[in-house]
Symmetry: C2
Subunit: 227 residues, 2 copies
Amino acid sequence: MARTGAETRELLVDTALRLFREQGFDGTTMRGIATEAGVSLGNAYHYFAGKDELVQELYRVVQVEHRDRTLPRLDPGAPLAENLRTTLHTGLDVMAPYHAFGQAFVRVALPSSSPASPFSPESAGPRDLAVDLMRTVVESSSTRVPARLRERLPHLLWLAYLGVTLHWVTDGSPDQRRTRRLVDGLAPVVGRALSLSRLPVARGLVDDVLTLATGLDGADRPTKEHA
Amino acid sequence: MARTGAETRELLVDTALRLFREQGFDGTTMRGIATEAGVSLGNAYHYFAGKDELVQELYRVVQVEHRDRTLPRLDPGAPLAENLRTTLHTGLDVMAPYHAFGQAFVRVALPSSSPASPFSPESAGPRDLAVDLMRTVVESSSTRVPARLRERLPHLLWLAYLGVTLHWVTDGSPDQRRTRRLVDGLAPVVGRALSLSRLPVARGLVDDVLTLATGLDGADRPTKEHA
DNA sequence: CGGTGCAGTTGAACACGTTCAACTGAGAGG
DNA sequence: CCTCTCAGTTGAACGTGTTCAACTGCACCG
């Protein structure tokens, strides 16, 4: 044999993602992936530090496909709520084959220390991809966004998307219909909230929420360490 | 030997919770728990279907202690934001010893199918405990709550508490300071949002949010099954 | 006394994720 | 032709969560 390393690696990723789709995360064993790919167990671990690392591969794949399938569906000039709805539904479409796998995805990605966390530096690429997608959604919509919000809104929408994903993961209803309904309800709420945010009376709340959201992600603010 | 079952069970719970505190979730093995408790491995599994089931025990313990430590600290007549802040901080105090364990807690509780999920029927007891605590917080505060919200607000605050818990679990900052800051920011935001919700212009948004929140938890709405 | 049921208990066994020291074999250098 | 190197690979081994058929010993019944 003696393939090149990149070939073996790709072979393993493809096999793993297929098995994840077919059997879920827990149902897929490292031995199964190795056997199915025709390599030894130890060799699989040569390319992936562990089962978790294969999750990051999925994260990447899903983000890219989400963007590629969403962009042509956006309706320029439509209200933000409508385009957001399209975007979120498309995201669910992309993830659907992996729902059996989703629980494990979150349990791997959740710890902020984990490189698979959407907040981690290692995930910067996929994260920027997702935030940029939301920026496109905002900019290609007709809805007017207050100046204070404009810069931050894509990031907020990405956080909302994470929330939807979290709900989707825990959604045991058939075809995850509850999450679909959540999206249908959430999009107009965002639209209404945006309208409301233009009123002077809401200014204080908007500012506070922005501050809150800033604290949500990223590591601790650099606290002037002296070493 | 031949203890009564309840005794052995309690012995196992105490031992497990202690080891979880000392060594975290992954660091604690079922063999370790069994050995430390002086019972056989198989016997531990006679009382708990698996490691996960011990998590529910912790969930229960934490909820009860949260309530017991919060009630005497509430300031009747103070603004809701202040009492909410106290409540959330007290919750963090109670959970603090288990932070190393927290990641595992979520990964066990997340799947809605899991009995350990805060939305599951099996968790109804602890959940009601937590929602009732929030109800007490609302009722013992001076802040006026719009009629449409009054009944649902405790439930919404409980959801917010879940969100804070989720953030806490993923919080890698020293002593989980970021979550403390989140609470300090969140409480006033809730207060402001509540004020805003009294304006007629916000009525539509409030109703939509309430509808959204209704869909968040619980199983699928009973869809008139004919069997 | 002998048996019978049964709550409580046991330890071996299985499959899994992960680690690691050793092997393979094709090319480079002499 | 021999040897060295090293990326690619291997399979045994460890500790884990979990399962299960069998054991123990006490209380009760005849």
